[in-house]
Symmetry: C2
Subunit: 195 residues, 2 copies
């Protein structure tokens, strides 16, 4: 997605060979107009899939997931990283390990909102090791729902999450795929047709 | 806001005299169409205020804040409840106590995204004791920014946050003001013109 790549080049900050900071438009400050375009792009790429639900993880997945839901005409659900007091039972749960934060969180989704009749698009802001996506896929499976695919805003193509998921035959659509952050420079994989 | 009140009556669940569960459309599953209408309503109520930034708190504030930013043509910033590894310094911080969860979180906002030239609309999904709003106001003050007011989706009018904030002369706009959850029934304060 050209608009997103240009935004990353203009406003992203390379903190190391592994870390791209996009806090100015994606995961701390949010550019709602860009997010709307991102939602429209995912809706376009996953049209004709019969998607009934977008599933993401708090917090940074919420903005793109909601905009995708708006474009698709479906609701968005965000998994919570801890149980809240008003979510007492009837939960799907999965464990997600964050290598960045070196901690494991339990994520949970109410059984009220995903079920066997759903066709789910799993979404997240970043794809790196794929741990968050795997946790969300676990929940889709527990729900007996169908998986339409995975929508990612920014994929770190030099980490193994994308390969891990695609090797399972899952359709992964990433709007920007970064091949390298070496020397403080963002390089993208060339835009490719979906797998 | 009539559409929101009707949604609360149709889909909200009263768990106790204190707790209204709106997980089906606001803070776990998100209804993007309702959220869009909420954003338009806030943009309308706070038009002519010269707002340059919407400030909220992760996670449940993100959806209404982003939609309000979209309608206003400004960016939305969400305070984080913990420092992330990619937000290393240059932070405004404040403490927010949650009576519901009985814990105090440090919230933080990068100094890159709010400054003395900003006119800020503080937003949240719920207003109960007002602790989250006070933390966000603290950050607005640290930034030397101007406060346009506070936008709340659902105010628990039987708790003291609204009074606390309005007594400071702050304009608080709540789209649904609940006067009571007693006997399992949601009662609203009558719709009033903004103060």
């Amino acid at each position: 997605m050209k608009q997103l790549q240009e935004k990353i080049l203009a406003d992203g900050k390379v903190l190391s060979d592994q870390v791209l900071k996009v806090d100015s438009f994606l995961n701390h400050q949010i550019d709602p107009v860009l997010m709307q375009a991102i939602g429209e792009e995912f809706a376009s790429r996953f049209s004709n899939e019969g998607i009934t639900k977008v599933l993401t993880l708090e917090s940074s997945g919420i903005a793109p997931a909601m905009m995708t839901g708006l474009s698709m005409g479906v609701t968005a659900v965000f998994a919570r990283k801890r149980k809240s007091l008003t979510l007492v039972d009837s939960l799907y749960t999965a464990n997600v390990h964050s290598f960045t934060k070196n901690e494991t969180n339990e994520i949970s989704v109410s059984k009220d909102f995903i079920g066997p009749n759903d066709v789910v698009l799993v979404m997240d802001d970043f794809l790196a090791n794929g741990q968050a996506a795997l946790g969300l896929l676990d929940i889709v499976e527990q729900a007996g729902a169908a998986l339409a695919g995975i929508g990612i805003v920014i994929e770190k193509g030099f980490q193994d999450g994308g390969k891990l998921l695609r090797n399972r035959g899952i359709r992964v659509e990433s709007l920007a795929r970064i091949s390298s952050l070496e020397n403080g420079t963002v390089k993208f994989l060339e835009e490719v047709a979906s797998r």
